[in-house]
Homo-oligomer: 136 residues x 3
């Protein structure tokens, strides 16, 4: 088993506490909860991609992908996506955006499992997603 | 490490988005969030087992088990169950149902770890459960 | 792959249902959701470390650590910590406590990934944490 290593995509802001955006150990890769933050700009606080569920869902998925790729993985390696929404009324729209996004990702393996639950998130955030991947 | 494969129990409805009810890769099996839906009937929308916590908890556990078994696993392989309830007042009753259910499953290995938290779920649903299993 | 075994730290109360505080199978160790309960006293119900976020966060982290250590692991093996808070207003203070705690743990490997979401918890509890570890 190889050492546990932190995964820090180039565009990701420094986490707000002592955690890693992702970690990999052997063939297991865990992505921390990602939200719809745009690529970080030095000296500025994190900025959300926009106020809409669409903007935030797409940016969040891209942020998950960035961690996967920085760790040597991709969507085809993802076993589980945990989707946290703030409003049950967002489920259908999130699914539409989710399906369209993954239709464009050229998946070769089975889609990941998923759990969606409705929680509180910091003001302005509508979605958070984390991921567990198992590499070949 | 073998390929990631989707697990689709016979009685499960098609997921409402591009995710799998379960996936297995090598000896890791992830079950997506299951709720108290009865076995699917072609041409009809998903139907919940009933309005009570008891009906939904038992059906949800059976739905998790169906994914495990379709993936070549069973309760003894489960490392973690995540239980999502909607009401802290349901904890004691869910535990009673949970214990009685597992007492009847003939477990040989240690019971899985578990986390229970209280979230929002779509109208009419009182419980959701997902599972992570590690096979021999 | 070795057998799945239950992990039961000496100071932990018996779980309120048929689940394990932790389980280990091969090099995977899963810690169940821990809260701020003080070490159990025989014949008494579980007692929370105190009413403050600080007291509960530190006790919760110690309870996670106790499971890890009873399972032959430590913080350096942890891939993911799931932090459940009840109030978005607690995020900054929890991060301060979290950072100070881990600064004192002598970590050698990368810090774990983390997801923080805001849920309901039983009355009096402000935080719950679970963990997934991959051992060497």
């Amino acid at each position: 088993m190889s050492e546990k290593t932190a995964i820090t995509p180039a565009g990701h802001a420094t986490p707000p506490a002592a955690f890693s955006h992702g970690v990999r150990k052997g063939n297991i890769l865990q992505v921390a909860g990602q939200v719809g933050f745009l690529p970080a700009v030095a000296g500025r606080p994190p900025a959300v991609a926009g106020p809409t569920l669409r903007e935030q869902t797409l940016q969040t998925l891209e942020n998950v992908r960035a961690v996967l790729e920085a760790g040597g993985a991709g969507w085809d390696d993802v076993m589980m996506l945990r989707v946290y929404l703030t409003d049950t009324g967002h489920f259908a729209e999130m699914n539409e955006i989710y399906d369209a996004y993954f239709a464009g990702q050229g998946l070769k393996a089975a889609p990941a499992a998923r759990t969606t639950v409705y929680v509180g998130l910091p003001a302005g955030l509508l979605i958070e997603i984390d991921a567990l991947a198992v590499l070949d």
